[in-house]
Symmetry: C2
C-alpha cells in the first residue's frame, strides 16, 4: 500500500498552527466539516489542533483553486456533497494542498495579509452542522460478536447466528431524514411495544432506549444504475468515516421487526460526528480483519488490509452526575479492527445488484461489539437489563433515562504515530413530552 | 367531506383543450409531472387530455403568481419538491387556478397572444423525468392478502400472519437512490441466492425476478424532529399519489432477509409513474376501508373514509409478443380499496416516534393484492412458479424473462364520474450482462 507513505501522513510533519499534545487533530488528520460562526452561512472547514480553518475564505482568496478547480463554489456550499462528488483525485489534491499550506515553514497562507485573522478561529466558536446531506443510509450488521449477542437476546434457544451471516454482509436501509449532527437532543421516542404477549400492545414512550456504537463511511462519485462497484474500486468511492450513534428503542424494535426488519425502533434519530476523517488520514492504520470461514464468494474477496485499527469508547453521564460535577463513566472500549465484514466488502455487496450510490450516501458498520465486556450497546452491556450498570451518582442503568448524555469517541494511532481523532458524537435524552424543534445545535 | 364538492372535481366541468373520450387526464385530474422537450431543462408540467401544458412558461407569463407566489422559481425547477414544500394551501390554490385557466369559456390563457402555441404540446413529445427528488422511501405491507400469501410462501407450515400484523402498519425503508421514472430499463440484478440449503450459496443473475404492484403517496411540508404527525393531519402532509413498481428478486430476498428485512432483493430498482395525481383529484373516490379487528391503538384511528377506490391492472408483454404484434396480456386487476392499512394510518405510524418527513418522501403501500386471482406480484400469481402464466406467444412465465415488459396502470372513476388516470409505470427487463448507463428515458 504505497499510499500509506503519502507525505500527508508523515509523523514528522508539523504545522505552524499550535496542536496541543494528545490532540486528535494534528496536521496528519485534517478532517472536514461544515462550520459557521454567528451570522455566517454554513461552509466547509478543517479542524487542526483546537482551531478551525474556514476553507471558504481560503478558497475565496484563491489559495485552493489550482489544487481543486471550482474550490470556491464547492467550499462555500453548506454541505460536503459537491466535494464528495469530485472523487479521489480531488480529495487527495485538496488534502495535499492543505497539508502544504499548514506545514511549518510554509508562508503562503500564514503570510497572507489579514487572512488567517479572519479564517482561523477557536474550534469552540464553531457551530457544527450536518457535514453532508445524506442520500441513502445503510446500516450493516458486521460485528459477529454483536450479531451473536442479539441473536441470543432476541431469539433465545435458537441458533444465534442466521445461516446467511458468514456469507453476506447483512444490512438494511435506515431513515436518512432523521440523521442529525452530534449535540442534537434526542427525544425519547414513543411507539408500540408488547411487554406481555398475552396482553394487547401498548403505545407510549420507549422504556428500552439504547445506543449503537458504529463507524460509518461516506461515499463519493457514485455509479450508474445497473453497474456494480467492485470491492477493488472501494478506494475510489469511499471518502472517509464518521462516528455513528444509531439510537435504538429495543422494545419498539422487538415488537415490530418481523418480517421486514427494524423500522420505528431505529428511525427516530441517528447521530453522526461532525468531522469527516478521510481514508487518506486513516491509511497508516489499516489492518487485516479476522479470518473469514467459509471463504466469501468472489465478489466479496478483498486484497490488502481493509479493516481499520480504530479505538472506540462509550461514555455515559446522567443529569445528576453532570449536576454534581462527576465525570462521565466509560462503559465500554471496543476496537473497530475485529469487524467481520470490512468496508470494501460492504460497498461491493450493497451495489452487487446494480444499486446506485450517490455522493453523500452513508454506510454504517452496525454496532461495534468487541469481545466481552466491550460491547457497543446497552442491551448487550446489561444483557437486556439483567446486569445493570452502576453509575457514580448511585443509580443504575439497564437502558437510558431522560437527561442521560451518551458520548461516543474514537481515534486511531496516538502512541508512536500521530493521533487521528474522530472527535465525538454526543446526544442527551429529552423526555418524550418535551419536544424540540431544531435539528441543529452548537457543539 | 365537504372538500369532495370542490368545483375542481365537478364532473360537468369541461376544458377548452380537447380531452378524448376515456382519457384519464380530464380537467378534473390535472396531475403534475416534470417534463422537457429537446434542449429544454426539465420543468413542471400538467397533463390534460393528450397534451402537456408547460407550467414554467405559464408562470413566466405571470398567470400563476397570484395563486402561487414564487410560481416562476417553483415551476421552473426540475423537481416538484419546492412545490411540495409549500403545503396544502398552495397545492389547492394552484389547482384551482389551473382549473380556471383551462375551463371552457376562460380566455386568460387561451387568448394570450402566442402563449398556448409555445406552452401546450402533445404529450407524446414530452420527455418525462422523475417527478420529485425522493428523500426517504418507505415501503409498507398494507395488503392483508399479500402478507398472508407471502407468509404462506416464505414460511410454509407457520402462521402466515405475524402477531403484529393487525396492530402495526408494517413497513421498512427502501433505497431512494434507485427510484427511477417509468420507462427506465431494469437490469436483471445479480446477487446471492441459495437454492439448495445443503449447498453453499451462489452468486449470479436472479432467477426469480418479480414485480410488486403498489400505490405510493408523496409528502409535503414535513415536520420537525421529535414531533409526530397525527392521523388527523394527514391531508396537510400528503400531496398526491403515484403508481409504484417495487421490482423484487425473490431468490435474493429469500436468502438475505433474516433478520433485518429485504435489502438487495429490492434495492436494484423501484419505478414510479411520472404524473402525480393529487389527493384533491382523488377526493370523490374516497371509500371506507375494511373493518379493522382488533381496533387499532388510538394514534392509528382515523375518521372518515381513507381508502381510495382505485382500479389497478398489471400487463405483461414478452419481447416475442411485441415482435409479433401481440397485445400485452392482462394478468391481474386488483383494486386498491381493500388495503388493510390506509395512508393516514401509515403516515401517523411512520412519524409516531418523531421521525422527520420531508417534501418528496415517498411512502408506498406495499403490494396491492386483492382477492384471488387478482394478486399484485408474480410470486403470488404463479404461487412461486407452481402455476405458471401462459402467454399468447406460446411460452409461460413463473417469473420475468429478459425482454419482458411490465406495465402497471391505474385509474379511479370513469363510469358516471370523470376518469382520474394515473397513466402507467412500465419497465422492460434487460439482461444482467448488458448494462445501461442512463436513468432516464423517453416514455
Amino acid at each position: 500500500m504505497s499510499a500509506a507513505f503519502d507525505a500527508t501522513t508523515d509523523g514528522a510533519l508539523r504545522s505552524w498552527i499550535d496542536v496541543p499534545d494528545g490532540s486528535g487533530f494534528p496536521i496528519q488528520n485534517l478532517p472536514l466539516g461544515i462550520v459557521s460562526r454567528a451570522y455566517e452561512s454554513p461552509r466547509v472547514g478543517v479542524a487542526i489542533g483546537d482551531s478551525v480553518l474556514d476553507l471558504a475564505l481560503i478558497a475565496e482568496a484563491g489559495l485552493l483553486e489550482d489544487a481543486l478547480p471550482g474550490a470556491r463554489a464547492i467550499l462555500t456550499s453548506g454541505a460536503l456533497n459537491a466535494f464528495l462528488a469530485r472523487g479521489r483525485g480531488a480529495w487527495s489534491a485538496l488534502r495535499a494542498r492543505l497539508s502544504a499550506l499548514l506545514s511549518a515553514g510554509n508562508e503562503e497562507l500564514r503570510g497572507a495579509p489579514g487572512l488567517t485573522e479572519r479564517a482561523l478561529y477557536p474550534r469552540a466558536q464553531a457551530r457544527m452542522h450536518l457535514p453532508f446531506d445524506v442520500g441513502d443510509y445503510v446500516d450493516f450488521y458486521s460485528s459477529i460478536e454483536h450479531a451473536t449477542n442479539l441473536g441470543r437476546l432476541f431469539r433465545p434457544g435458537g441458533e444465534p447466528l442466521m445461516p446467511n451471516y458468514r456469507h453476506i454482509p447483512i444490512g438494511y436501509h435506515g431513515r436518512s431524514g432523521t440523521i442529525v449532527v452530534s449535540g442534537t437532543p434526542i427525544v425519547r421516542p414513543s411507539g408500540q411495544r408488547r411487554p406481555d404477549p398475552q396482553q394487547p400492545p401498548l403505545f407510549g414512550p420507549s422504556r428500552a432506549l439504547d445506543i449503537e456504537l458504529e463507524v460509518g463511511f461516506v461515499t463519493g462519485p457514485g455509479n450508474a444504475l445497473g453497474t456494480p462497484i467492485p470491492a477493488s474500486s472501494a478506494r475510489e468511492h469511499i471518502y472517509g468515516m464518521v462516528l455513528v450513534n444509531d439510537w435504538s428503542a429495543r422494545d419498539i424494535q422487538a415488537w415490530e421487526y418481523q418480517p421486514l426488519g427494524p423500522f420505528l425502533g431505529k428511525s427516530f434519530a441517528t447521530s453522526i460526528s461532525p468531522w469527516v476523517v478521510s481514508l487518506d488520514a486513516l491509511e497508516p492504520f489499516r489492518v487485516e480483519g479476522p479470518h473469514q470461514e467459509p471463504e466469501p464468494l468472489p465478489y466479496l474477496r478483498t486484497s490488502g488490509a481493509w479493516n481499520y485499527a480504530i479505538s472506540l469508547r462509550i461514555e455515559l453521564q446522567s443529569a445528576e452526575m453532570a449536576r454534581r460535577g462527576l465525570a462521565p463513566l466509560t462503559v465500554s472500549q471496543p476496537t473497530f479492527r475485529r469487524m467481520y465484514w470490512n468496508v470494501a466488502q460492504q460497498l461491493a455487496h450493497a451495489t452487487a445488484n446494480g444499486a446506485v450510490v450517490r455522493p453523500g450516501d452513508l454506510f454504517a458498520s452496525g454496532t461495534v461489539s468487541d469481545l466481552e465486556p466491550d460491547f457497543g450497546s446497552f442491551i448487550e452491556l446489561t444483557w437486556r437489563g439483567t446486569r445493570p450498570i452502576r453509575l457514580p451518582d448511585g443509580t443504575q442503568r439497564a437502558f437510558l433515562e431522560d437527561g442521560d448524555t451518551v458520548r461516543l469517541l474514537g481515534h486511531a494511532g496516538g502512541d508512536d504515530t500521530p493521533r487521528i481523532g474522530f472527535g465525538e458524537v454526543s446526544g442527551r435524552i429529552v423526555g418524550a413530552d418535551m419536544g424540540i424543534k431544531s435539528t441543529e445545535v452548537s457543539p
